[in-house]
Symmetry: C2
Subunit: 482 residues, 2 copies
């Protein structure tokens, strides 16, 4: 194989160009006009569509792909099993995803969390009781202190509007690494606080605004329960508490099924023209018109749409300032959870490479070890053929769980997000220092009938499925109130 | 990797079991009762649904997967390009697929067919003008004679009802290999006639009834134009004459979009109960009821459904007698068609392994070499990790087209059908000797309100997209006339 980074990128560009130039297939729907056009059939766009339709609005939901769900996606293993290739877990205070799962009858299961988890630090494995957040090391105490400081900060934090925080200017002038250096002095303490970020956002601590991270912690709650470090990162009582039997993608897929009359697939939006009396949305399947548009996608992607007239410079700069994390998931399937027999939860966090975080999940007759390949490790693997991802993923599982991770594997799958032409990475978009305080207020500010959704625009559970739904419902409410 | 055939099969079984046991997600549709239930949203089921709805019938279309299209499927390359992972081409007399492509606005492009194609025989490559069907070799003359005999036989052949052929008993008592041995004496002649079958059906000549093959040739036409060897296998004037810009899957995807109100995804049908006043169809998403059911799938798969009361033994044996071919497609993407510069069409047929047949296709800014990996070669690769498929596929392309096939590749993709839990192989199901004459009449015979569609039940273009559509429309017509 000679598939270099350059050629892979070229292939991505080819795919994008093919999309841009592809002749429009006919649109069989009765009408190209609607009250509201929603752009993007991820959870945020589906939630907006659902809310708008429930209020009697005629809605067209335009989706670039041939499937709904966006970053919530069931990958297929070599053996044909549907596995979570994208968003996977849910936990307490994630009220909206829980409500939709119940409404559409998608069952959830508890994440296995008995025995000991592993911390992997510089090749050494520490076993830690599943209930404890950290191994007992010199850096633990100051990490706990930092966690307490973060949690205190989350009380009263202007969630979703971090630029309104009293200390916003200082926090948005520093990276998360700067904050760590100011709040920890031991190597372990710094590592733990770095991992708390990179395991969650899949970018390196020196790429990220400390204000963004503080808002992210504060976002891990709801109106009644301030966000916390523990809820963001935990299993029991945290965002990884449960997963969906059959895959999280069943939620958007079932929503799409029930809203199917509104959805146009293969309709990548290339331009939105607001110079006429209505907004006109140009897609690979022709143009559509509505008085209102919800752009339901990451701000890191929305900049690819050509807006006419141009958007206010604050919105343009905001979109440019957001970048997606670099991530893939690798999933290995076993018929027995041999790690449990060894007293392990199947959970790892650490500085291992390429997989720095693992979880287990299970279903009828199979057990899955899932590893996140994130940030720099994924950027390296983007250069290389898929077999390297599979082999190095299994190598990592062997390192964490022993040789059975390789000898007993019966199936595997993976999903690389960085080359995905309509996501550009995952799990969410983040900002470097200086963006949120300068351009943040443009995040949700409607522009001439254009409203903004996407999990990045959520107040609570920004970056999560729950936040995506909240954002879509909020955008719908804006339109219904206007 | 230690993913053996056994474990891969186990994984497939796991996937099937997971499907069988998965709790039903809610069905948001207003009604679980319909006039007709169609099982399977491949082209045949979609065509049946479309015809029935046009006649005013209330139809529910139950699909096991989360997508429509069945064996017509856009695979995604590593770089995000949509490529034909399944059915790909269309040609003259394929009137129904052409009509639907036009109706839904899916454009087609001509297959490049200038210069010379390659015959690969025992490692040696013969260049043959693209217009000629065979290289000039000692076996050519007797092969041409056999082709003429086949074409003559197709005139007046009882297409789709081969058991009614005057010579049916003799032809269905022999394999295609037996027929070859009786009609060719040179090694080349035998090879050409074997390739004509294996390149088309992806099973070995000694696995296949000669009667099945004769019907298949006769099926390559329409009511006005008897089928022919050349139309089945040819490019210009044949079944490989054109392909779909953006992928053949756009046809079923656009049909599914326009019929979406009828479709229930994730609803693998496990049982059909005809003991009550209505037929009751049990799925992973609960049960549905109708007076009529169209089972729109390969007979090789329909046997997985539990029919109550049991089907007539002829139908049971017929379903058992059909087996799917073993096949995968490997696709390599290039930015320039370097083979054309060397005077080659990009088409190969021969006894090479694992890829024995290639075609090229193209779109905006990219060119694709596609190779079929079929029959025994695919059965071998089913035992091995995906990287072996990719590497051996590229090795084959290098052998056929030179080292640039590897050095200039910018992207690749593949689709393995044998492990697919809802297709079980491809491109179509075939019968060994003895099945068609004994049980063939049960192929389309309705059983207590249950009608049968699927490309295997077509008269013309059995095994092709066109035949799938014809079969669905025929099943709908049966119901509307009943």
């Amino acid at each position: 194989m000679n598939v270099s980074r350059r050629t892979i990128l070229k292939a991505g560009a080819v795919a994008a160009a093919a999309g841009a130039l592809r002749p429009a297939t006919a649109f069989a729907g009765s009408d190209r006009d609607a009250d509201v056009i929603v752009v993007g059939a991820g959870l945020s766009g589906l939630a907006a569509t659902k809310a708008l339709r429930a209020a009697g609005q005629r809605v067209l939901l335009l989706e670039a792909r041939e499937r709904a769900g966006g970053r919530v996606f069931n990958a297929t293993t070599d053996g044909g099993l549907a596995v979570d290739g994208g968003a996977e877990f849910l936990g307490p205070t994630q009220d909206r995803i829980a409500a939709l799962a119940a409404e559409y009858g998608v069952p959830t299961l508890p994440t296995y969390n008995q025995g000991e988890s592993l911390f992997s630090i510089q090749g050494a494995l520490q076993r830690v009781p599943a209930g404890l957040p950290l191994p007992i090391l010199p850096g633990t105490v100051e990490t706990m202190a930092a966690m307490a400081r973060i949690d205190l900060n989350s009380i009263g934090f202007p969630v979703g509007e971090p630029w309104r925080h009293p200390d916003a200017a200082r926090l948005d002038a520093m990276t998360w690494q700067d904050w760590i250096d100011a709040n920890a002095s031991t190597d372990e303490g710094k590592l733990f606080l770095a991992l708390a970020e990179s395991a969650t956002l899949s970018v390196r601590p020196h790429e990220l605004s400390a204000l963004f991270m503080m808002n992210y912690f504060a976002s891990a709650g709801n109106a009644q329960n301030p966000g916390s470090f523990e809820r963001l990162l935990g299993v029991d009582g945290g965002a990884q508490e449960r997963f969906f039997d059959g895959g999280a993608a069943l939620v958007p897929l079932r929503m799409a099924e029930s809203l199917c009359d509104s959805i146009v697939y293969g309709a990548a939006v290339r331009a939105i023209d607001g110079t006429g009396s209505n907004l006109e949305v140009f897609t690979d399947r022709g143009s559509f018109r509505a008085a209102k548009v919800v752009v339901a996608m990451s701000p890191a992607i929305s900049g690819r749409i050509d807006f006419r007239p141009g958007l206010p410079s604050e919105r343009v700069e905001l979109a440019r300032g957001y970048t997606m994390g670099r991530i893939a998931k690798f999933l290995a399937v076993y018929d027995q959870p041999f790690w449990r027999e060894n007293g392990l939860t199947g959970q790892v966090v650490g500085d291992g490479t390429p997989i720095d975080v693992t979880y287990e999940s299970y279903g009828q007759g199979h057990h899955i070890l899932m590893g996140f390949i994130s940030a720099d490790a994924m950027a390296d693997l983007d250069n290389r053929p898929d077999r390297d991802l599979v082999e190095s993923g299994l190598d990592c599982f062997v390192q964490y769980f022993g040789p059975e991770a390789r000898t007993r594997v019966i199936d595997y799958g993976f999903k690389k997000w960085d080359n995905d032409p309509y996501s550009w990475g995952g799990p969410t978009a983040t900002t470097k220092p200086g963006i949120l305080t300068r351009f943040g207020p443009a995040l949700r500010e409607p522009v001439g009938g254009i409203h903004w959704a996407g999990t990045e625009t959520a107040d609570y559970w920004q970056g999560y499925m729950d936040g995506a739904i909240r954002s879509g419902e909020r955008a719908a409410a804006e339109i219904l109130a206007s």
